[in-house]
Amino acid sequence: MASALTPAALTLDNVGYAYLGRTVLDRIDLTLAPGEVVALVGPSGCGKSTLAHIAAGVLEPRHGHLERSYRRHGMVFQEARLMPWATTRENIAYPLRLAGVSRRDRAARAEAAAARVALDIRDLDKYPAELSGGMMQRAAIARALVAEPDFVYFDEPFTALDVALKRRMQNLVIEASRALHFGALFITHDLSEAVRVAHRIAVMDLHGRGIVGDRLLPGMPGDRDEATVYTLAAALAKDPAFRHIHDVDERRLP
């Protein structure tokens, strides 16, 4: 993606995290070039989400350090996490409100972000309770994009959606990433989703002890057709580094 001279957008160096004395993450090293979309895959409960939360600044790492050289980030969570008392427009504009943007500018920019994720302008005055699951997740993506970030965290954003909707959302993310040139860390446990959206796939250890390996994907996200995605995902599933990603240790689930 980028030459060795440009600084990385995000660098995780020996990052670890423990929760109530139990080590959840250990020795995580990961570097993302500017504009690069990296999918981080791993089995359920291996600490992928925790890593995204640490990288986004929601959690403090227990040891190691991270360096963010992007300007601003956005984040999309597994659930939409919209404020139930605010209209869709206000929800999308929330990062702008935090940034101190004036009310008038907020409304205009929220509408622009909503248009990017194909949310109807009439839906913007509705409350989250009046939206469908897909529309809520669209609003969450619009919220992540509204402040024009150059980096976006996606924490298993489409797990709760059905297959067709998932596909549309993935295309939406790919298009937005191309148009707005943002890099991303895309957490998922779905290999074909990873293959569809990312430049590179990194695999996490079953118990969160480091990144086991990473694979650069041929071609660009959005240029790969269904057959290519299927072949790549099938090939990766046979790759020794990826073999454990469907193992689940239920007791480690939060």
């Binding site: 939360h53 986004a56 600044g57 929601v58 601003r72 980030h73 956005g74 984040m75 969570f77 659930e79 996490r81 404020m83 139930p84 008392w85 605010a86 209209t87 929330y94 990062p95 409100r97 935090l98 940034a99 509705k126 409350y127 309770a129 009046e130 919220r143 402040a147 965290y153």
Partner: protein
């Protein structure tokens, strides 16, 4: 276009609110009917007629001296209420965000709530004599714990996932409090404030009667001394009427404004 739509929606809300008043008026009419029946059974000395009582209340409201008495009670109740709300909200926020504070405060609250209000009046009378302080202190003591507990409850039940979301978008603790925490607490605060407002008024009247400090309570004491049931009921009517006016003209509209989203999530058939 959007402005007219918004104006239309606003008018619709007001219309629905006014229209919902019919049910309230019917309920009051039913109550008046039972009262009238009681009057006809027991006679004028025990229970005067509702019409006569309303008439007496209307006369009360036309006399400047009486208005001054009402104003005394309202002022004291309002001062106590505002003080209780301030202490309750600040303390509740503190206790909600800090589990250690909550653990310290809970037994204190249990003790405070266990003391009968009448005991507070006696203490306040010793401390403040026949001044406003007696009434205000009693109101504050009676109204604060409820507001405190509700606010703390609100803070503790906040959606931590929303807090994480805000943190991810760069919100500090203060921004999280003002944009998420307080907004969530409002849903708990409003019912508590309504109840506290009612009890502030009631406790103020009681404290005035017992401490003999004038106001509506003083007027009630006078009516009792004269064995004037009509006058006593009329003063009660004035106090209750004031409370109803305050609740429906101020508390409910403000609350409806903040709770509009809740209405949106209900299917259209069962809205209020």
């Amino acid at each position: 276009m959007r402005l007219t739509a918004r104006l239309g929606a606003r008018l619709g809300h007001v219309g629905a609110f006014v229209w919902s008043g019919w049910a309230g008026i019917s309920g009051l009419a039913l109550f008046a009917a039972v009262w009238q029946a009681g009057h006809e059974v027991y006679g004028n000395f025990i229970l005067s007629a509702p019409a006569a009582t309303v008439g007496a209340a209307a006369t009360i409201l036309t006399e400047a001296d009486n208005l001054a008495l009402i104003w005394d009670t309202v002022r004291r109740a309002a001062q106590g209420f505002v003080l209780a709300a301030a202490v309750g909200i600040v303390g509740g926020l503190g206790a909600g965000y800090s589990a250690a504070t909550m653990r310290l405060v809970r037994p204190i609250l249990t003790v405070l709530l266990g003391v009968p209000p009448i005991a507070w009046i006696v203490l306040a009378m010793i401390w403040f004599g026949g001044s406003d302080g007696t009434v205000i202190t009693t109101v504050v003591v009676a109204a604060t714990p409820l507001i405190f507990v509700s606010v703390a409850e609100g803070v503790m039940t906040r959606d931590r996932k929303l807090d994480d979301m805000a943190t991810a978008f760069g919100a500090g603790p203060l921004a999280r409090l003002t944009t998420l925490g307080l907004r969530h607490v409002l849903a708990f605060l409003f019912p508590a404030l309504t109840v506290a407002l009612g009890s502030a008024m009631k406790v103020a009247v009681m404290a005035e009667l017992l401490a003999n400090t004038g106001g509506i309570g003083g007027a009630l004491a006078m009516a009792r001394a004269n064995l004037d049931v009509t006058m006593a009921l009329a003063w009660v009517l004035v106090a209750v009427g004031g409370l109803i006016v305050l609740e429906y003209l101020l508390v409910h509209p403000v609350r409806a404004e903040f709770e509009r989203w809740r209405n949106a999530s209900r299917p259209w058939g069962v809205k209020r």
